[in-house]
Point group: C2
Chain length 547, copies 2
Amino acid sequence: MADTNTTDDVGTLGARATGIDAGNDGDADAAGATAGAGVEPAVLINPKTDIAALAELERHLYAHRYAQIGIACYGSSIDPAAAAADRGEAQAILEEEDQALLCSPETGAMLERLSLPHVAELLTPTQAAEVRVLKRDRSRLVDVPGEVQGAFTRLVSESDDVWRRAKAANDWESFEPYLDRVVHQMVDIAGFRDPQRNPYDVWLDDFEHGTDRAFYDAFFAQVKGVVVPLLAEIASKGWQPDRSVIEGKFDEGRQWELARDLMDLEGLDKRTVFLTSTEHPFSDALTTNYGIIAAHVYPEDVISNVFTMLHEGGHALYETGVDPSYDYTVLKGGTSSGIHEAQSRFFENYVGRSRAFAPHLLAAMAKHFRGQLGRVTPNQFYQATNRAEGTPVRVEADELTYPLHILIRYEIEQELFSGEATAADVPTLWKQGYKDYLGVDVVDYAHGCLQDTHWADGLFGYFPTYALGGAYGAQMRHRMIDEGMDFEGLLAQGDLSPISAWLKDRIWKYGRSKDPDELIASACGEPFDARYYTDYLVEKFSALYGL
Amino acid sequence: MADTNTTDDVGTLGARATGIDAGNDGDADAAGATAGAGVEPAVLINPKTDIAALAELERHLYAHRYAQIGIACYGSSIDPAAAAADRGEAQAILEEEDQALLCSPETGAMLERLSLPHVAELLTPTQAAEVRVLKRDRSRLVDVPGEVQGAFTRLVSESDDVWRRAKAANDWESFEPYLDRVVHQMVDIAGFRDPQRNPYDVWLDDFEHGTDRAFYDAFFAQVKGVVVPLLAEIASKGWQPDRSVIEGKFDEGRQWELARDLMDLEGLDKRTVFLTSTEHPFSDALTTNYGIIAAHVYPEDVISNVFTMLHEGGHALYETGVDPSYDYTVLKGGTSSGIHEAQSRFFENYVGRSRAFAPHLLAAMAKHFRGQLGRVTPNQFYQATNRAEGTPVRVEADELTYPLHILIRYEIEQELFSGEATAADVPTLWKQGYKDYLGVDVVDYAHGCLQDTHWADGLFGYFPTYALGGAYGAQMRHRMIDEGMDFEGLLAQGDLSPISAWLKDRIWKYGRSKDPDELIASACGEPFDARYYTDYLVEKFSALYGL
């Protein structure tokens, strides 16, 4: 039998196992023939062969991503409880396959050849961007030994589980050792990837390419310098808007109808974006034809529903607004956490928490809850959803104090990574940060340093992108107005389409083909500047509180 | 850089691309060293290496199957409409990967080595079964050229689409050429796989290992010889049970509650079996911890809901009743279409359409529809759900006439494969068959030869397993009674657990480790015999109609 020949690699599953070399055989033979002429083989592979292999690699990464997103999304919402371990095993195997595809020496050689100047000039701009992004994705994985990466994956899986139980039991001690282990392993992994660089900078750059501690230090100094005194001034006024007008019990079925109406109001196309329910809201997309919003409704909090939908809807607009020709390629999806958060916070805050748009949100809500909300005025609604004050929980924070919650985390992350602090110091640092920046007394761990899942999941360096996204969005808003858009007038009319068109044209359509700094500069006509964010906050909250 | 070295296979994605050789390097080296001693390499690979590679191969097949089942199940129920093509592409790529994994020469060589007598004796019985089943799965694919298989996959995808539109428009002509092409390509593929064998036999064996035309000819002759005269006798009586007692409009929400109650009644564990809604009902399982039942409720037909749930529940009981140690291996799941249908039809017919169980189904229904069904008697219900008469549509057929619908299809399939008929003859053959066997005048294509999706999907050879499954089930029921089980008494008590325990112990737990004929012989103590099926039909319907 032709297929029972044995070679040195029998007993392992060899070259044809993924089938991803199918169709290239002809070209590969041609290249082999040329290489036989005595010229350097690295240069003489037919670029067409490599370009075909590039597309083929991306097709497989696409299918795996499709499988992974599908498994994760549905897994979190509808799988039977007993299936958790089996699901995790399937996910881990697919992740291994992805890493193997990207990290194989053949992929590395192919990407290097496609980067050679005389080859690169044969590529379309899209192909060149694909090579650049794939090389970066690959570089994040290829120098980390498999057993180190595997140990980290297992650690954060366990750590997430310990964290869930610790938070429920308000028990810091059980989680504390995991936090140290997560930090140590992240420091080690950063060392494999870039031994010359500060480990925390490696991770900051992962989530927002082009950022580091120097960047964020400057950013947060600027934010802190404005927000802390502004908050003190508000507190000294001794007045707060009445939130009781929007409180009450709201039927869950009708809240889901409201959620669907909010999708229409935000301009989401239900033929391409699918709404489902979950415990922890998120949004994702498989292609531009298939976005997912997973939301949660609480009978006692209809406002959470409204702003969650606007927020996740912003993510979904971004993902489904990418150039459709990037579907099935590595350029599909959002370019960074910060740019993604800029879109979600744009719709949540610059649209949703504006005075001008308040009548439209109120009308959408009153349609389903006439008896409870029929007499609330737009001004009452605007004030109630913009009450600025120090509170202990990040996800419930208002627009003004939100970046201070992030700053507290950013400072602690730096201390943990530098070794100035260990997990044992975190509760004290947390208490001190909340007291200093927000005037809040932390009363327990569950609403204190155990409130977020990020650290348990190994997402150190991720928090800062939340605040940065808000600042990106403010700069985009400023630019729209500066170019002559009647931003407030559009909100007053409830017409978001020119705003979405602007964002699609400047941000969404580029997918991962441009990096964040490049996107901001091209969209806004100048580099990132946090001043637009602080100016916006001062103007909005001074007016609201009559300062 | 170590990973930019070039070899002859640069430009393709090579051996390490799936990562599935990870962890075997040590063993492979050991094997290489042994091979260096000058002995036949095929014999000298360390069996431990091959056994590890076997498990590794199955892990990857598991993850791909998990992804495929998940994508298909959720895809059919909740994906946005625009996502269909993107979903199809992801599925096709994962299918390619599966085929490549299974068909690689390395996999072939590994399976051959593990089949060598002195190696096979080192395997556990489970491992030996894994090798046997994998070799058979592989043999179904490996001799078919990739472009032939690819053309067939694309043809049936297109053909399914054409069929859907043709059925909706009652338009035979548009579908006719596709039917010929599907048959021709299936004949060609069978020729690649086994040129010595009759092509239709190749496909019959695919769906039910060990069967061929001779087997089914004998089976259907036996069935026809009993059912046709029995049906004529019933028709000559001129009496039919009243079906109106179970007709009406039934609220969909309450029908879903009924569906969940029926899961309890059937003994399905909701921690492991998940109920969802879909257009065309099915059941599947990812592992024994994760079964899926996708059902459909019609406001005007609560009976369809009841028997669909019992039927799909039978499939789910089988899949989740397999030995859990087979999870993640190729032995997971049902062994054949016929054995699977035996389980589903067991619960649908031998339990659900029995006189003894009628009070329990009626009570479950009356709980949710007291006003409509509160006064129906068990006897009325039993008679109404067992009305035996010729009707044009297979899926609405009663238990007695059902195998004749299958026989008509089986005869036409044979004529198409032998070349005695082409697609152009099918409408006439169909009319003649329904007239001869069922006394039915076919009035249109949509309720005639366009009613089923199977031929459009390339599933020639599949229909016969439906009738065979019914006959298998009758033999199992006979054996239970023969061994002393008070079958009717248990049904009367509504206690299905001893019946499920019997099926689990004789059938379900074995998964794919035993073939159908072997399972029947071991479960029933003798080879398959259709007499139990015909005896059952005669006894049941003679009593019901007072013949």
